[in-house]
């Protein structure tokens, strides 16, 4: 009797867990995760802050002192200037078109929300980082995330005070891209991390007749879905290998995403609405 009861309890627990794993809708699951992340976020921030301070202290001891803070400020400034330059280029292109067509197009403004990276993926199954800002700070899902080195990824699973950032190198991340010099379009998707620890990505659906060279720069096309995803002209990486398939319709290329994860401790989320966010 006791053995039968125990089997029943185990079967009930197993059934419950399977329901939780496979049946619960993502919205409900996200609420649960938001609660767990809310509990852990202050501790994660402290741990991350401690790590950064130790790293900066080590740099200071090595003789760089104030250069650390200065470097951080300049990096912030560089991203802002790059974003501004990208917008000005867009504006210039728009201007040229307007001169031809005598039409005015409304140009959308964007705001960058600076965020600190508070932790990384816990299991290593996903290529993600968690930033210490969320819905309360104006971040929504599918917003582009950039760093001084270029496109980092996009926001996914945004909770009230934290957001997960899916990195460009994750197989689930797909972004519409363009080869800058040849003005050819394609789709960039992550290829994970290789055995040397370097993130890799792949650009597919490149026009077969276009000449693609190793070293060509790949930037965002601005055509990806979602209102804040992938502003035009953001650097993704450089082509390191070209795969040509004579029997296929397209060619593909391997890319080295420049915004390497190990170097990040802060990044910027592109806010689509252009509102001033505190």
């Amino acid at each position: 009797m006791v053995l039968g009861n125990r089997k029943l309890i185990y079967a009930s627990i197993a059934a419950l867990l399977l329901i939780v794993a496979f049946v619960i809708p993502p919205s409900l699951s996200l609420k649960g995760k938001g609660a767990v992340r809310g509990i852990m976020a202050p501790a994660e921030r402290s741990t991350s802050g401690l790590g950064q301070r130790l790293s900066e202290a080590a740099s200071a001891i090595r003789g760089m002192g104030g250069a650390v803070e200065k470097n951080r400020e300049l990096s912030h400034e560089l991203v802002r200037v790059q974003a501004e330059l990208s917008q000005l280029r867009d504006a210039d292109a728009d201007n040229q078109r307007l001169r031809r067509a005598f039409k005015f197009q409304h140009q959308q403004s964007r705001t960058l929300i600076p965020c600190d990276v508070i932790s990384r993926s816990i299991g290593g199954w996903w290529n993600t980082v968690r930033v210490g800002k969320g819905k309360a700070d104006g971040i929504r899902e599918n917003h582009a995330v950039i760093s001084p080195d270029g496109l980092v990824g996009k926001t996914i699973e945004v909770a009230k005070h934290t957001s997960e950032v899916l990195l460009v190198c994750d197989p689930a991340c797909r972004i519409s891209a363009r080869i800058k010099d040849s003005d050819t379009y394609g789709l960039v998707r992550g290829g994970g991390i290789n055995l040397r620890g370097h993130p890799i990505a792949r650009m597919d659906f490149i026009d077969k007749d276009t000449e693609v060279l190793v070293g060509d720069e790949v930037v965002t096309s601005g055509l990806s879905g979602g209102e804040g995803l992938s502003p035009k002209g953001v650097h993704i990486g450089y082509i390191v290998k070209v795969h040509k398939d004579n029997s296929g319709l397209f060619q593909s290329a391997e890319i080295a995403p420049s915004a390497t994860v190990s170097l990040l401790d802060y990044l910027f989320v592109v806010s689509a609405d252009g509102e001033k966010v505190p």
Binding site: F22, V36, A43, R120, G123, G124, I156
Partner: protein, 169 residues
């Protein structure tokens, strides 16, 4: 009660440690299974009630902090916990070799279940070579992590003030 607090606090700190550790590409990008080791440690050392509390708390933190749906840890931790708990009286649980064996088997089983869940639900692409690397890598990491977690928790539990149940002590 103090041991219960130590258990919950230890798992909380374990989650932070696992978050802070970098993924190791040579082991397939898997991180050292600190939380799984806590679940195994309490499955080997505690009553069923203590085991279930540790297993659920660790699984909740693991899945709550990871991307994707709840599931891999919420199913995997109870499985390795129950299996370890069933044989705990037949083995020398504080032996280093025993713990290395349990750490490796537990981590590999957990990785296998995670692979199954992610592949079945279509959340992650399946590559045989990568999966094999992750299985072997997780085994090696588990082999190192469980003895370290056991050593730490045994030391901390020994520091706690002892409950004196007899008047003459």
């Amino acid at each position: 009660m103090m041991k219960r607090f130590l258990m919950l606090g230890g798992i909380f700190v374990g989650a932070l440690v696992q978050l802070s550790l970098p993924p190791w590409p040579i082991f397939g990008g898997i991180k050292p299974p600190v939380l799984a080791s806590f679940a195994l440690y309490y499955a080997l050392h505690r009553s069923p009630r203590g085991m279930w509390i540790a297993v659920f708390w660790a699984a909740l933190l693991h899945d709550g902090l990871d991307l994707g749906g709840f599931g891999p840890a919420l199913i995997g931790f109870p499985v390795i916990g129950v299996l370890a708990h069933r044989v705990r009286l037949e083995i020398f649980i504080d032996g280093t070799v025993t713990q290395m064996f349990f750490g490796a088997v537990g981590a590999m089983l957990l990785t296998f279940l995670t692979l199954l869940i992610y592949s079945a639900s279509g959340q992650r692409p399946f590559h045989f070579g990568h999966a094999l690397l992750r299985l072997v890598g997780s085994g090696l990491l588990g082999m190192v992590t469980l003895p370290l977690v056991s050593l730490t928790m045994n030391t901390l539990e020994n520091i706690l003030p002892k409950k004196r149940g007899y008047g003459w002590q």
